[in-house]
Subunit: 318 residues, 4 copies
Amino acid sequence: MTTPATALTGVVPPLLTPLTADGEIDLPSLERLVGHLLEGGVDGIFALGSSGEVAFWDDARRAAVLEAVTGTVAGQVPVIAGVIDMQTDRVIQHVRAAERFDLAGYVVTAPFYAITGPEEIDTHFREVAAVTERPIWAYDIPVCVHTKLPAPLLLRLGADGVITGVKDSSGDDVGFRRLAAGNRAAGSPMTLLTGHEVVVDGAYLAGADGSVPGLGNVDPAGYVRMHRAAQAGDWEQVRTEQDRLAQLFEIVFQPTGKVGPAAGVGAFKTALRELGIFSTNTMARPMSPIEGDAVGRIREILGQTGLLAASQGAGAHA
Amino acid sequence: MTTPATALTGVVPPLLTPLTADGEIDLPSLERLVGHLLEGGVDGIFALGSSGEVAFWDDARRAAVLEAVTGTVAGQVPVIAGVIDMQTDRVIQHVRAAERFDLAGYVVTAPFYAITGPEEIDTHFREVAAVTERPIWAYDIPVCVHTKLPAPLLLRLGADGVITGVKDSSGDDVGFRRLAAGNRAAGSPMTLLTGHEVVVDGAYLAGADGSVPGLGNVDPAGYVRMHRAAQAGDWEQVRTEQDRLAQLFEIVFQPTGKVGPAAGVGAFKTALRELGIFSTNTMARPMSPIEGDAVGRIREILGQTGLLAASQGAGAHA
Amino acid sequence: MTTPATALTGVVPPLLTPLTADGEIDLPSLERLVGHLLEGGVDGIFALGSSGEVAFWDDARRAAVLEAVTGTVAGQVPVIAGVIDMQTDRVIQHVRAAERFDLAGYVVTAPFYAITGPEEIDTHFREVAAVTERPIWAYDIPVCVHTKLPAPLLLRLGADGVITGVKDSSGDDVGFRRLAAGNRAAGSPMTLLTGHEVVVDGAYLAGADGSVPGLGNVDPAGYVRMHRAAQAGDWEQVRTEQDRLAQLFEIVFQPTGKVGPAAGVGAFKTALRELGIFSTNTMARPMSPIEGDAVGRIREILGQTGLLAASQGAGAHA
Amino acid sequence: MTTPATALTGVVPPLLTPLTADGEIDLPSLERLVGHLLEGGVDGIFALGSSGEVAFWDDARRAAVLEAVTGTVAGQVPVIAGVIDMQTDRVIQHVRAAERFDLAGYVVTAPFYAITGPEEIDTHFREVAAVTERPIWAYDIPVCVHTKLPAPLLLRLGADGVITGVKDSSGDDVGFRRLAAGNRAAGSPMTLLTGHEVVVDGAYLAGADGSVPGLGNVDPAGYVRMHRAAQAGDWEQVRTEQDRLAQLFEIVFQPTGKVGPAAGVGAFKTALRELGIFSTNTMARPMSPIEGDAVGRIREILGQTGLLAASQGAGAHA
């Protein structure tokens, strides 16, 4: 895990966006969440990622989120921001709108909606990087953009200084190891973060420099403990934490009839409400929040994994 | 093909966006293209569709395109506009920005980037429709959004007056026939247009009310002749036109090493340049235009299909 | 539709395999089915296709099916047989086992299970063709083998005399038109049959020489009328028949909780039982037959499409 | 890693099938390969898996392979055999043909070619298990069969004693951890082996009981060292071995224009030829062997990973 002194490594949760019951940004909940993460020891915060419901916000809401997050974090840890959109000019539009905020870098996906080939993807990253002094992270998330960023492309962009790192949410653990090996062979120009909450331990063995766990909103301290244990080479402790966090991750499988962020982010928001950190579990439209029996099952899992005592959390939304 | 008197049927090409060599909207070329379509007899124009490179434009460019197109068309035929974006709030943002233009309706896809289920898709269309008086067209284009709009959902939205029609680019001819049958059984509340240039004849047999052919930018008169023949029940003529247009469509397979709109829209733009209608075949970034041998092969096909005489077209870009 | 005098064109249903309640081949039902098809005027019969549940039979059962079918058909129309298996040597094994039966050709898919590229697919067809004097049909069925046979490959195999025709079940109507155009341009060395029951009309416009409709087991006369009308250029009649057959095809959507052949072939078998032609609707294991409310809905559709009078069919399985 | 005393755990390579230049089983090479594996310390051998080219062999060849392998292994370690085929009856046919050989169990995939749902898959495993006293392993390999075996199904089959273990080649590391957690929670009725050569270390952390590495044909001793280190809790050693084996795995990316087993198994066979263990790198038809520059690059990687000295291996195929 040799990385530049200034590089962002460790635990960098993709920040959820708490909403009031009528869909506005819930600032008190956001402050509680940021406090929860900082108290847990996170190394950075990723705003406007998929877990932050970036795809659901219009431009005004994106700006409001960045204003609220950077204001709340207030420089205590670096904040990086997703500039997620379909193609180059639209991504650049988001970069330009975000330059006024105190950000440590931008997170950029492959182009989507219109099919693009390797040459266009390469051009895309270079043109976005050219409009800002800030570092660019490549966000490999084929489940959303339906393109896998190939390791040779990422390695070339890293070697050329176009990107500073990769957030890997590809689910391709074989590809991740190849990427990590190639990066090491090139002198580790990039830092590599994994987005897969339940196999961070294996990613550390493969060479990850940190993680971007959506579940880290719920239990940041657990991910931080796992990271510190990995750095210390205490792999039994790494595995023990990971197994508990994998058990906690079962909350996302409790809703019935929901898919994608309505299930995953919805479960995280519900858990945070049950923990007394969020006031509601409201989702961005067109999604509806988790209700019914699934809430009880989520509470049960929070209890089994040590996050919720039997008597706890009821006050927040009573 | 029983449809409301005011419904948009027939040939409605998805308008290409001609660019100057330095990437600005090329107004003289746009005027020539609109003239070419109107002279060909088209029944309407679809601006900011996939063929119009909508995914590549930032908001300012989208507005500029709508301003240029509605100004050039000047009410001679109805213009509908794509309001393509990831999720509900972003689509609504585009609708609001477009309300000041003279448009006959909006074209809306399923949500994308974040995975959504049937309930969310239903909500999505209803919430977008609620913010405008203008008709909404559902745009079924799984190759871009990676969700197929199910026939029962479309039929329900049609019956409820949420959508006025469907532009089908799903490539699912079996599903299209089921949709057409269901629409007829419901009293034909919707008009159904197919986006697949080379099988419009079969779609007419199945019950299509018209077509939205990207290739119709190149040969609008051919698609109009086919439509008139279908209305007259002259199926041999329908087939003859379709076979010729399918031959013309081979231009999109001439570029090597290009995929998606860089190949398809790129070929249409190149053909229009060779026909003297466009000044360049410039593409939106990060795409590059078609060059080299493919241009000659495209000219050859234009000649074989009767669109280009041997001596023609050289002047426009000499 | 210029084809060699000896070529198999027209309606060639993929024969279902009727079973007794305990899973044996039901010869009386098979004889009734063959009689039903011949009475309907079919031009040939395709045994051991996907609709014949070929994937479910061990080698002894395959031989028993071919023996029963060729014995029952007894030369009244040509019979072609699927030799469906994973890779070259296994397919050749099936060819050799079938040479003793009175067959007019073999139907061969792309290799499957192990991923193979274009060169291997080309070799595969050539090596299978080399072991028999009988004609080979390429069976393009990506939903089963997860490879689409590319048009240039098929055209090359056709030009080289390796294959005599294509049974297209790819669902790619755009690709089918390209194939038909390429075949015509090459002098029509191949005959092209479509397997998509509900869009045969469009396939005829595109250049199909016939159809291989699973639904043709239920209503062979309807498909034959459609074919004759297409040959006569009576497209309104073509469309009317196709619309009725598409309505009949709705039987496959009636079962709940079933996918693939358990739904499709299951519905065909259930319909044939209700029509008094099959004694049971038993499926090959591990599939279970359609039961419950779906049976009533299938009967209703049979009534609506003119195949079943209110009082009919009860005797066969009472 | 609590498992029944009799369970097969540890390193169980999927045995390659060496061929002579004219495509026959190469017994001397097979003996050398088995010797190489036993000398490396493997815990078992998996014959007729995907790496053994099972899909390419007709029934006679399958029997010949089992005869040769069990004869050569001669009880020194347990041998399990793939009974890979499309649907239940065909799989049972292979089981029955294999009962006469000295085998410790059978490996069974989900049904394929015809689409089947969860109920059919459950029935499939139960019906296959019912015809033999020997243990059944579920083989989760969606890249070949296009169905992912869901963890709840596997856990149920394990709890019911239908299957004794899972060979996971799904590439779904998140799903594998869920499976391992569920298996532990149920008292570990199953043993879980991973098939992904380059991320075995992460699988061990997640709870794997062993591995089935195709690459283990080339370097069995490396996989055995990794397994022993994992059992000893020496994770730095685990990682070091895995990183070297991942580097070795790069041999499969050296061929150009080849996909699937023609690349992967082809590279393994080529490496074993260069190591002097195989006489040829001949592949089952329709595949062709790796030739040209790729062979040199494979030799180079064998050298870099310590398997081949500069002067070694030339004799075997000179």
